[in-house]
């Protein structure tokens, strides 16, 4: 018997033994962990008051929290920059950030050793849906340790994240309430924009109707042969700005009159516009490269003003590129105009971050220090915490500008302009966003680059919440979810082939093919789930 064979045999035996041990260990640790919370919580070591934040009363030292953020890009440093140094000082807490993806999160769950605080990004995920099994209810923690939390948290947001037991386990950043939408402090982000020089040169054109749009693009091509007449966001990862954003521009409803799911992709008005885009493409006024460009390629083209007009989704995210172009060519910069509008007289219904927000923070029920954890939540949600993470320290980096607004101090403005590295690493300005919200950003007119001010102003009156249809997709891992994902994949392909179709007949055939595909992939069941979820959403929002 050769040595390798022997060793292989030993290896196999050892592996079997190890696997058996693992199975045994796995069985041992798979007990469930459900119990009522409040009696399990540690005692309070300071005087609790409704009217003052608990962190002021809590004098305990050497608190450490481990905070897991389910995103690899999150900056893990803490206590090294101006902003987190202040948080560390105020709260007597040291935070150890850990980052990762779902597999890392899974190892935490599998080992049963969850970090003190967990931040996830998908309100629709299984993790979020089972929060009551692994997290503490925020209401219980706040009542016991820090009732001031109820003053700084938004009731609407707490209601939205309530689970079946009537308690809220997670609190998101950037969660906009109905009131936020009306306040004027949350800027819209989508607009149809045109280069100023193009606008001046082509005379009076009508971008608002499909026919006018096709003609206008031809007029642009005639005057500016070097520009691509019509551009839109890149397709990497999502469907560009050509489905949801265009539908919002056309004011396509999100639900039917009796609050059932409305198939926005098959809206006649929307299809009319897609057909107009098809004609624009057929005339050579949409570049095929727009369908293959990644975000870098798109950014570069915005940067140099390659597109005469753009259906711009999220101008905030493209602010730097729009500003670069505007600074180099002040007379040519992009401006928002009325365009791509409903043929049925509907007003645009632009959307923004919804009530679900973005990153959702939970306090795990394995934490030894729930008091400090809820204090951190309360602190970061309070005006003090929000002003700190957005603007730094009053008198040092920002000052009053009247009317409740603020502005950078001259020295801070200089750092922002000349030393972005210091701005980011030593100040960490506006980057500690785990509880961030746009309404604080709105307190400084310099929060957004100048190039998009006009675009934001253009859309402000059209901002409309779409809370009813948030997170209505089927549960992940179910047959329905698989069918839904197949439909989405098919839609991405269909959308582009509609615009690239050679004729109206081909266009119609593709629409029909898509509808058939939906039917054969249990769309009826999926829509029933959606209807059910819409109903549940409306209940949470107190809508009738």
């Amino acid at each position: 018997m050769s040595i390798t064979k022997r060793l292989a045999r030993i290896g196999a035996i050892a592996a079997m033994a190890a696997a058996t041990m693992l199975i045994a260990a796995g069985c041992g640790s798979s007990s469930s962990n459900s119990s009522s919370t409040s009696d399990k919580l540690p005692k309070v070591s300071y005087k609790v008051s409704k009217n003052t934040p608990a962190w002021k009363a809590d004098k305990s030292k050497n608190n450490t929290l481990t905070w897991y953020v389910n995103a690899d890009w999150w900056n893990k440093s803490f206590g090294k920059d101006m902003i987190t140094k202040q948080i560390k000082k105020d709260l007597n807490v040291n935070i150890k950030f850990v980052t990762g993806d779902d597999t890392k999160l899974n190892t935490y769950f599998a080992s049963g050793k969850l970090p003190d605080v967990v931040t996830i990004l998908d309100p629709n995920s299984k993790v979020a849906r089972t929060a009551s099994q692994w997290a503490y209810p925020l209401q219980d923690l706040a009542t016991k340790y820090d009732p001031y939390f109820f003053k700084v948290a938004r009731q609407d947001t707490l209601n939205w994240y309530k689970m079946k037991d009537g308690k809220t386990y997670g609190y998101p950043d950037y969660s906009n309430t109905e009131a936020d939408y009306k306040s004027g402090k949350v800027p819209p982000r989508d607009a149809f924009i045109v280069r100023k020089d193009v606008l001046a040169a082509i005379g009076k054109q009508d971008f608002t109707t499909p026919e006018g749009f096709v003609k206008a693009m031809a007029a642009i091509k005639a005057k500016f042969p070097n520009l691509t007449p019509f551009g839109f966001n890149d397709f990497s990862g999502a469907n560009s700005s050509l489905d949801n954003v265009v539908q919002d521009m056309l004011g396509v409803p999100i639900v039917t009159k009796d609050n059932k799911y409305y198939a926005r992709n098959m809206d006649p008005d929307y299809l009319k516009w897609l057909n107009a885009f098809r004609e624009v493409h057929a005339a050579g006024n949409i570049s095929d490269d727009s369908f293959t460009d990644d975000s870098n390629a798109f950014n570069e083209k915005v940067n140099v003003g390659k597109y005469a007009t753009i259906m711009m989704g999220s101008d905030v995210n493209h602010g730097i590129n729009l500003q670069t172009f505007a600074s180099k060519h002040p007379d040519d910069q992009y401006v928002a105009v009325d365009g791509i509008q409903s043929t049925e007289g509907r007003k645009p219904t632009l959307s923004q971050a919804g009530i679900s927000g973005w990153m959702i923070n939970y306090i795990s029920n394995k934490t030894k220090n729930p008091a400090k954890a809820i204090q951190v939540f309360e602190y970061l949600l309070s005006d003090r915490g929000q002003m700190l993470v957005n603007y730094g320290i009053k008198g040092k980096t920002y000052e009053d500008a009247g009317n409740g607004m603020v502005k950078w101090t001259p020295s801070a403005a200089k750092v922002q302009q000349d030393d972005p590295d210091k701005w980011q690493n030593q100040y960490r300005m506006g980057e500690f966003i785990l509880f961030g919200h746009d309404r604080y950003k709105a307190l400084n007119k310099d929060s957004y680059v100048k190039a998009i001010w006009q675009m934001q102003k253009w859309g402000q009156k059209y901002l409309t919440p779409q809370f009813k249809t948030e997170n209505i997709a089927p549960d992940p891992g179910t047959q329905e979810a698989r069918a839904y994902s197949a439909i989405q994949t098919n839609w991405s392909t269909t959308l582009v082939s509609l615009i690239r179709a050679k004729s109206k007949a081909e266009f119609d055939a593709n629409v029909k093919k898509y509808k058939d595909f939906e039917k054969s992939n249990s769309i009826d069941q999926i829509n029933q789930t959606r209807d059910k979820n819409i109903k549940a959403n409306m209940k949470k929002l107190n809508m009738k």
Binding site: I23, K126, W134, D288, F291, T292, G477, T493, L495
Partner: protein
């Protein structure tokens, strides 16, 4: 190592005794194996346990042991999943083109390089053909997309020949298989020659001298000396590539795939990645992975059997 021909006939206890005696006398050398053995156990054997997920319904918040069993349900889903079969078809199609070209071309290129006598030219050719191997698909993919765009390198070149168009080739699903296969060939063909060149260097030069004396032409020498000299490596490569029929290039696919070529571009790996990681459907992805592994093992064994027959009953594995 002393071999004991009669070992099999002796009792278990005496065999164990010899085994331990051998082990003790060689423990220094044996212990050098230990890190490798541990590595294998930890990273190759223990993870096998995770395959049970294929028969469970598992999510992020479960433990592997704690997840519910659901029998063959995941495999039944695979049977009815149109997108999965589309991915299989694409994987096999792209691999088949890749394998055929990438099997023969490196052999031809290696022989050509081997026959070049002028050293500087040989070195330059080798360097240039190796180079793309060291660039990641992220970079190469970006270059390719750019070259294939409506005003890209290819259309400009065709324009010079008078047959230019403004087509964006990446949007043409029917061209994708060839784009994927040939771009992979371009990236890997040089690298593929290394093994062959190393083996050729080991062929005794006196064979060639004798052949020349006997008046054999260059082609005759290649056919009768070089090719037989590298035949074992050729069959090894064949076995490995056949078993890789279901393997697919995730990096390449993720970079080159777009919504238009997706029906022809989606391969098993990218499908598993999309379903398993981005949609959190771990069990289903594991089931797909397990199925593919089983088929790959079957292919590997079959290819080995075939080459063994061709190779005078000598296995190269």
């Amino acid at each position: 190592m002393n071999s004991i021909p009669a070992g099999r006939k002796r009792s278990v206890s005496s065999r164990m005794k010899t085994w331990f005696a051998d082990f003790r006398s060689q423990w220094q050398m044996q212990s050098m194996m230990l890190p490798g053995v541990i590595f294998m156990i930890v990273f190759n054997f223990i993870p096998i346990y995770g395959l049970t997920l294929a028969f469970k319904s598992y999510s992020v918040t479960d433990t592997i042991a704690g997840a519910k069993w659901n029998g063959w349900q995941n495999f039944q889903t695979i049977m009815n999943d149109k997108y999965f079969w589309q991915a299989v078809w694409n994987t096999v199609g792209i691999s088949a083109i890749k394998l055929t070209i990438e099997f023969f071309l490196p052999i031809a290129l290696a022989i050509m390089i081997y026959e070049v006598n002028w050293l500087p030219f040989k070195k330059i050719v080798q360097t240039i053909t190796y180079l793309p191997h060291f660039l990641s698909w992220i970079i190469l993919g970006g270059m390719l997309i750019n070259w294939m765009s409506s005003n890209g390198l290819i259309n400009q070149f065709l324009g010079l020949l008078g047959i230019g168009s403004h087509a964006n080739y990446m949007l043409d699903a029917n061209k994708y298989w060839n784009i994927a296969a040939w771009s992979d060939v371009w990236k890997e063909v040089g690298w593929g020659t290394i093994l062959y060149l190393a083996t050729m260097a080991g062929i005794d030069p006196t064979y060639y001298e004798a052949a020349e004396m006997d008046g054999a032409s260059k082609l005759r020498q290649i056919w009768s000396i070089t090719l037989p000299g590298i035949s074992s490596i050729i069959s090894l490569n064949l076995i490995l590539s056949v078993s890789g029929l279901f393997g697919s290039n995730l990096d390449q696919t993720l970079v080159l795939m777009n919504s238009q070529n997706q029906p022809r571009a989606e391969v098993i790996n990218s499908y598993v990645y999309r379903v398993g990681l981005t949609q959190g459907d771990f069990s289903y992805a594991t089931a797909v992975g397990l199925g593919v592994s089983v088929i790959s093992v079957i292919l590997l064994v079959a290819a080995n059997m075939v080459t063994k027959k061709l190779n005078d009953n000598q296995s190269v594995l």
